[in-house]
């Protein structure tokens, strides 16, 4: 169906894809795994000659035996969508915000003169036909992704290229969308080339797996065998980032003793107008304890974190830190913020692009006018977060560093103030798989060395299994279940927790 022969793609002097040969048979499902920058998206776009002009291509892309590069413009137009179609990354941006989704699904059918019904397509992706009249912003993330899939199916193609189709979706919705794709592939005997950084997503949908690293395919084989006995170290690193919950080899944290409480919230409630984001939450974090707060987007977990930081005022209830309620303004609030530090999700936007590493780390020291030699304090904090040698990193600007290095800078900035609690909002969600483990190990080491407690907010149950002592599950503003990691993840009591756990795609699929 699809054959790539010695495909190489250059952007200027940089090779994004190097000498890749790959085939997808009729009815075969192939997962293409890789980190950001590995060239997997470039490869996906080359199938339909969708690459920007600046890309130089050598080698050949054969679609049903025909070279895509040599097709005439008219032939290429005819082939696009009727033979192969694409489910693009980020449904919000790939859909036109000012047109109804029904019209957008019908667009390829009109262009190609294919007959078909939008209602039927919607039914296939398990959406009610009435949704055809909705605009993209009226749909949820999962519904938008279904619309994208309906669109890809419109002209009855035989190959679908899906680029990160479920990234940014919550676990339960992700499981539904993946199930849908599996069903459609089976029913219509489609070929599927699915691109993702998430090995567990790929193994739950695809029979075969190819792993890309720095533009090259480093490993290829049956999905199950690639996962269970990876030959390339990079594959092993990718696999480790999606831990099997319950497996002792993925549990990095030791057994935590019972500790005295450091932070406690009492019946905390936060309202935004009529909307109740946080609804009576009582949560406790002990000294040197790592607590994972798990929930989907919209469950109120970020609002809870902001309230604990004193960035958002509670509507009722209170936050107690070290035996005293946290101050709401003035000098006392400023002093409190020395004790509790925030680590944000995306380190590239959490640092001012105009400030060097040195300035970013020294910012807190300057705000609190901490006595002592600024330069040596900054160096110590940077080395503590394992950016060594510090002198090499201090003058760099954020855009010169990688995601993992930037997250270390953010952590260093927090450590410089000698906090006792770290509130981390999805600290590894935007990082590549191979870096994820390092950052988690750093958090654990800091806990051991400095008795630093952490409240980690995440949607990723695997992360909780990796490092947390206790887990609290948040759903619609309430904590529905909390307890030790083993209790909550291995023996869930609440129905929602069970649903969440069942939806986690696993690399050890039967």
């Amino acid at each position: 169906m699809l054959e790539l022969r010695d495909l190489t793609v250059h952007y200027g002097s940089r090779a994004a894809v190097r000498d890749v040969s790959l085939t997808v048979e009729r009815g075969q499902t192939l997962g293409l795994a890789g980190e950001s920058g590995s060239g997997k998206t470039t490869l996906g776009l080359s199938v339909l000659r969708l690459l920007p002009r600046s890309a130089e291509l050598s080698g050949s892309v054969l679609l049903d035996g025909e070279d895509v590069a040599e097709m005439s413009w008219g032939r290429l137009r005819a082939v696009r969508w009727t033979q192969a179609s694409v489910v693009f990354q980020g449904a919000m941006h790939a859909l036109n915000p000012v047109r109804r989704v029904g019209a957008q699904i019908a667009e390829p059918m009109e262009l190609h003169g294919v007959s078909g019904s939008v209602a039927e397509l919607l039914e296939q992706v398990e959406l009610p036909a009435s949704k055809a009249r909705a605009y993209p912003h009226e749909l949820s993330g999962g519904q938008r992704q279904r619309v994208m899939i309906a669109m890809a199916l419109a002209c009855d193609p035989r190959l679908i290229v899906a680029d990160e189709p479920t990234t940014a979706l919550d676990v339960i919705v992700q499981a539904q969308v993946l199930g849908l794709m599996r069903r459609l592939v089976d029913e219509r005997s489609l070929s599927l080339l699915m691109i993702s950084h998430d090995l567990s997503v790929l193994t739950s949908t695809c029979d075969d797996l190819a792993v890309m690293y720095q533009g090259e395919i480093v490993e290829r084989g049956r999905a199950t065998s690639v996962i269970s006995s990876p030959r390339h170290p990079h594959t092993a690193a990718l696999a480790a980032a999606f831990p099997t919950i319950g497996a002792p080899e993925f549990r990095f944290a030791g057994q935590a003793p019972v500790r005295e409480p450091l932070l406690r919230t009492e019946e905390l409630q936060v309202n935004f107008g009529p909307l109740r984001a946080v609804d009576g939450v009582s949560l406790e974090v002990g000294r040197g304890e790592i607590v994972a707060l798990v929930g989907e987007s919209g469950s109120g977990k970020t609002t809870l974190a902001r309230t604990i930081m004193g960035l958002q005022r509670p509507s009722s209830g209170r936050v107690i830190f070290d035996g005293a309620p946290i101050p709401l303004k003035g000098k006392a609030l400023k002093a409190y913020r020395r004790q509790v530090q925030l680590v944000l999700q995306d380190p590239t936007s959490a640092l001012n692009p105009r400030h060097s590493v040195y300035e970013a780390v020294a910012e807190g020291l300057r705000i609190h006018a901490i006595p002592g030699d600024e330069e040596s304090l900054v160096t110590a904090a940077v080395e503590r977060s394992e950016l060594r040698p510090a002198e090499l990193f201090l003058p760099s600007l954020p855009h010169e560093l990688s995601g993992g290095q930037l997250q270390r800078v953010v952590i260093a900035g927090a450590l410089a103030l000698g906090p006792r609690l770290l509130v981390a909002d999805e600290p590894v969600a935007s990082l590549d798989a191979s870096v994820r483990g390092e950052i988690l190990a750093l958090l654990l080491r800091l806990r051991a060395e400095l008795e630093l407690a952490a409240l980690i907010i995440t949607h990723d149950l695997g992360l909780a299994w990796n490092i947390a002592d206790r887990v609290a599950v948040m759903y619609q503003g309430r904590i529905v279940e909390q307890g030790t990691v083993e209790q909550v993840l291995l023996d869930p009591r609440h129905e929602y927790t069970r649903k969440l756990l069942a939806a986690v795609p696993s690399t050890t699929r039967a």
Binding site: N352, Y358, E363, P395, G413, A414
Partner: protein, 291 residues
């Protein structure tokens, strides 16, 4: 830290290269340099008697070429000398008024954007008020109420031209404050001064710089207009006041084009220069505009 300075120097050098690549911007800068040179040097080079009405000997309304390059005015003074000496006031008023106007606009814009809520809304309504009254009418009203003088003109122009800067700066402030690094700064314990001083202002400043050059152009035209309407400082020579005199003495009916045209061209040249420089700077700062 010397590394920081090194980097700033390279950043400035890169900015200059991007600016220098635009011929119109460089032409504007050259024209501006010439104007500044004339403004500084002319008062020193012109003899005390040359512009004294009581001492000039040349006949009035003499056309160009007959001993005077651009002819003479109604008192027999050389128009060429008048125009060159008028540069200083036009530039001075233009620059100070624009500086003052942009300072007010930035202050109000950042405050409204940063604090938001009730205070922000109030400040923006005040801004809207100044935006809807015709600037020229307000400026005329102000300069006829306040005592005559250069200070009044500057104040009148500044008070009428700040709202657009305030709006632009407020929008940019809102955009910057939505970025996560501002949240991080707050979580580190940074107060209002820290957030606005360290994060918002540096991000807004490039925009303000461009706005200043464009406001100077407006201020120069406004100064000339006010002076032309006879609201200027009667003791100082400017292009606007020359046009005012020409009008009063009936230069049009005497067909003395040489009295009207040169000050007008002077205004056009300087305003054009500032606009060219401003547009070129805008392109340097916002690469998306590069064609």
């Amino acid at each position: 830290m010397s590394v920081v300075w090194d980097r700033r120097r390279t950043a400035w050098a890169a900015g200059w290269r991007a600016f220098a690549a635009q011929r119109s911007g460089v032409a504007g800068l050259a024209l501006l340099g010439l104007a500044v040179l004339v403004a500084v040097l002319m008062p020193l080079l012109t003899g005390a008697d040359a512009l004294n009405v009581a001492r000039v000997v040349a006949p009035a309304w003499e056309p160009p070429g007959s001993g005077h390059l651009l002819g003479t005015d109604h008192t027999g003074r050389s128009v060429a000398l008048l125009v060159l000496n008028g540069t200083a006031v036009s530039l001075l008023v233009g620059l100070t008024a624009a500086g003052l106007s942009v300072a007010i606009g930035t202050l109000i814009g950042v405050t409204a954007g940063h604090f938001g809520g009730w205070w922000g809304a109030l400040l923006m309504r005040v801004t809207d008020f100044f935006l809807v009254i015709p600037a020229l009418v307000l400026a005329i009203a102000l300069s006829s109420v306040l005592p005559r003088g250069m200070g009044t003109i500057i104040l009148a122009i500044a008070l009428t031209s700040w709202p657009s800067t305030a709006r632009v700066v407020r929008a940019q402030t809102l955009a910057v404050e939505a970025r996560p690094f501002v949240e991080r700064a707050r979580a580190l314990g940074g107060g209002h001064l820290h957030v606005t001083g360290k994060h918002v202002l540096p991000a807004v400043l490039p925009l303000v710089l461009v706005n200043t050059t464009l406001t100077v152009a407006y201020a120069i035209v406004a100064e000339s207009t006010l002076a032309f309407l006879g609201l200027g400082d009667p003791t100082r020579l400017s292009w606007g006041s020359m046009l005012h005199q020409a009008q009063l003495q009936g230069a049009v009916s005497k067909e003395a084009w040489w009295f009207l045209l040169p000050p007008g061209l002077g205004i056009i040249a300087v305003v054009l220069a500032f606009t060219l420089v401003g547009r070129a700077l805008e392109t340097v700062i916002n690469p998306r505009l590069r064609g």
